[in-house]
Symmetry: C2
Subunit: 189 residues, 2 copies
């Protein structure tokens, strides 16, 4: 692909990310994406095949970057939780895109990359449990899903959080997230 | 209000609940709501004032029912978590409506009733902490938001959960939710 074509695709992906994060899949308008990217609408179809496929491309790019940026450390789940919290706070589109996905695609429910990543992480936790590094109070799957629940509980697209919490106040809850995950993996009586 | 008017409003609210839960606020169509409720569209405006106000009415009804159905028990947070999990599993619209609300109204972020309820619950937890019934490892606010994060982590509109988990399989995670909350409120070393 030519350098021009790469730049055009990158501009489309960037504009699409903002549009999908703000309005979701059904609410996103291809017209707005092409206007912001200053690219003819027909190029969206030429490069990506359509709105749904463009959303998939945006999700894939985000998931890949997240997985590359926050390595999973089963022997240090509290540390992983803190780093994931930092990443999601710095990249608010990530969780909004994932949440739209869950609401608007209830049948498929989750991208393949995420599914694979959850499966691999769950397997790594199970291995750490067999090795005695982590307690077996909870199953590996429960422990992983609860860790993610704790990490995302305070973040803006969570249905639980107190509203209008400013970003700097959110950061104050990072320590509590780490403590909460530590309590989960503490092999108490 | 006459009995007929009450019945009409009730039919509209029921149809609106399904429509908003499925499509969100922007995605909901007043035409579909009036068709399903077999009520002229003008009555939506007469009774509720418009689509946004109709959404508010649906949210209010759901929040009120939830708060009435699942009493808060600060001295038994694991038990509360289990009962809230049961309720949300039996009433899947509740969490979808709350999630759409968070995504589509990022500024207001949360209905007044929910805000008040979170504030009251947080105050009750703080009181239990002062009385020594609950540990003070986490602040009352963190403890409440993490409890909600754990309760919702497995549920279908969570961005975290493994996809396509059937309802009977979800129920299997109830015990783990209760254990996880118990670990959070365990006053360990």
């Amino acid at each position: 692909m030519s350098r021009d074509a790469e730049a055009t695709k990158a501009r489309l992906l960037e504009a699409a990310t903002d549009e999908f994060a703000a309005h979701g899949i059904a609410g996103a308008r291809v017209d707005r994406i092409s206007a912001v990217a200053r690219v003819n609408k027909s190029m969206i179809y030429a490069y990506f095949g359509g709105k749904d496929a463009l959303f998939d491309a945006v999700m894939n790019a985000h998931v890949t970057r997240l997985l590359d940026s926050v390595p999973f450390t089963p022997a240090d789940l509290p540390g992983y939780a803190g780093r994931l919290f930092d990443y999601l706070l710095a990249n608010p589109h990530q969780l909004r895109l994932a949440t739209w996905y869950r609401l608007e695609r209830p049948v498929t429910g989750i991208p393949t990359e995420v599914r694979t990543s959850l499966f691999d992480k769950s397997a790594a936790i199970a291995q750490a449990q067999r090795a005695g590094i982590l307690p077996s109070t909870l199953t590996a799957e429960d422990l992983l899903v609860f860790l993610l629940g704790l990490v995302t509980a305070w973040l803006p697209s969570s249905p639980n959080a107190v509203p209008n919490v400013a970003a700097d106040q959110l950061a104050e809850h990072r320590g509590a997230v780490v403590v909460a995950v530590r309590l989960l993996v503490h092999s108490g009586p």
